[in-house]
């Protein structure tokens, strides 16, 4: 039996035992938890705006800072990864996911010291998000600017 026949047999057995992700269930859980996170963020925003009477810009910054802090704390307490396992994109897509990716990288590399460990590795996962954010902001900004000139 030659190697090609072997490959065919492997492929058949592997294809017969493909692992399916429960996409619908995951989507619903992500929607639910992502929604709850957004509601909490809205509540903070309203609190800063209406109870403390702050500016809109300052309030939304404070809201982001609060959410980042809470996610970071939950990461440190070892809760966020469990939440993430349940809700998937629901906890990774909001700003809390960004916070978790930075805090978890920082925690992971603290044994290698402050500079070579924490500071070097902190953006290991979040770096891609920042690059994507900056590039897409640049593209979107240009489009808006051009539309502004043309219209």
């Amino acid at each position: 039996m030659n190697r090609n026949d072997e490959k065919q047999i492997f492929k058949k057995a592997l294809d017969n035992n493909k692992v399916k992700r429960p996409v619908l269930k995951n989507t619903l859980k992500a929607f639910l938890v992502g929604g709850i996170i957004s509601v909490i963020a809205e509540a903070f925003l309203s609190f800063y705006l209406e109870v403390l009477g702050l500016d809109k810009d300052i309030s939304s910054s404070l809201m982001s800072i609060t959410m980042v802090f809470i996610a970071s704390l939950l990461t440190g307490l070892g809760v966020y990864d469990r939440l993430g396992q349940f809700s998937g994109a629901g906890t990774i897509v909001p700003i809390t996911g960004f916070s978790n990716s930075m805090t978890s990288s920082a925690l992971e590399s603290k044994s290698e010291g402050l500079i070579l460990g924490v500071m070097t590795n902190m953006f290991k996962l979040a770096g891609a998000i920042i690059v994507a954010g900056v590039v897409s902001a640049f593209v979107a900004g240009n489009i808006i600017y051009l539309i502004g000139i043309l219209v």
Binding site: F10, L14, V19, L83, N100, S105, S111, L125
Partner: protein
Amino acid sequence: MRKVGKNSVAFDNVFLHSWGTSCGPKEKEGPIGTYFDVSFNDLYCDEKTWETAEMNLMRTALVEAIRKGNLSISEVELAVGGDLNNQIAVSNYLMNDFPIPFIGIYGACSTAVLSLINASTFIDSGYGKYIACMTSSHNSTSERQFRYPTEYGGQRPPSITTTVTGSGVGILTNKKTEIRISKATIGCVTSSGENDANDMGRTMAPAASMTLKQHLEDFKISPDEYDLIVTGDLSLYGSKVFKDILKEYKIDVENNYQDCGLMIYDLQNQDVIAGGSGCGCASLVMYGYICSLLRSKKLKKVLVIATGALLNPVMVAQGKEIPSIAHAVCLEGVSE
């Protein structure tokens, strides 16, 4: 010692003198947790970093194997072993503390059996009386090396396995004991065409099935020869692929096959997703559980096929497949 068939070797006088096992909390709570010698209550294993924690696991298992065998450190004439860290750091740094000649090996999760085969050839060629085989893995050192930080909140897919925190050390000898290492088959690097680091069980299944097929051909035996055939860490999905490939070759293992990754954890009640994996998985099950059953004569003849995904994150990022390997060793109970 003599070569048999294409990939195999039959040993004359290789016996297991003693063994030591150490594990983390999840492995202790598992269905065969009571078979392990020492357990730690958390993943830090009384240390400050994950790497030193894994060193402590291996040190504990080695010291336990030496103690249970009524030996002194100076009587161990050679150690063969490895782990999953870059430059097999845990084994190398640990052996800095022991005046024992050391051969470091890397076979990913197949190291448990690879070390046993290497040590057996040394014993049978007259190198010495006592040789230690050691392997370890740690959930957190592996996660950070091959996947994500421990506390990262990304969702793990249903195919992912849980790296076992634990170490198994066996000490081989040329004097008769209750357990004999009689045969071994060395596997070829086999590619399944898969490149998903979150689905290693399926990736390794072709290598495991080819090693078993070769083993049966080389020794001209059928799977019924064994009370039990175990694979290292194919876990839930990989073990199905393993059985399916063997069916194509008309090899039936339906009645005497198990996977260490499914034996070490309770998949229903423990949060381990598709089962256990890592060097520690095969070595804990082999030394802790199987050898105990061989000693108490509940099992007579067992074939352990340890499977390793030879994953390199850089190669995978470059779109290359994950090659795998599997090595098999036969453990037999010796009648008086």
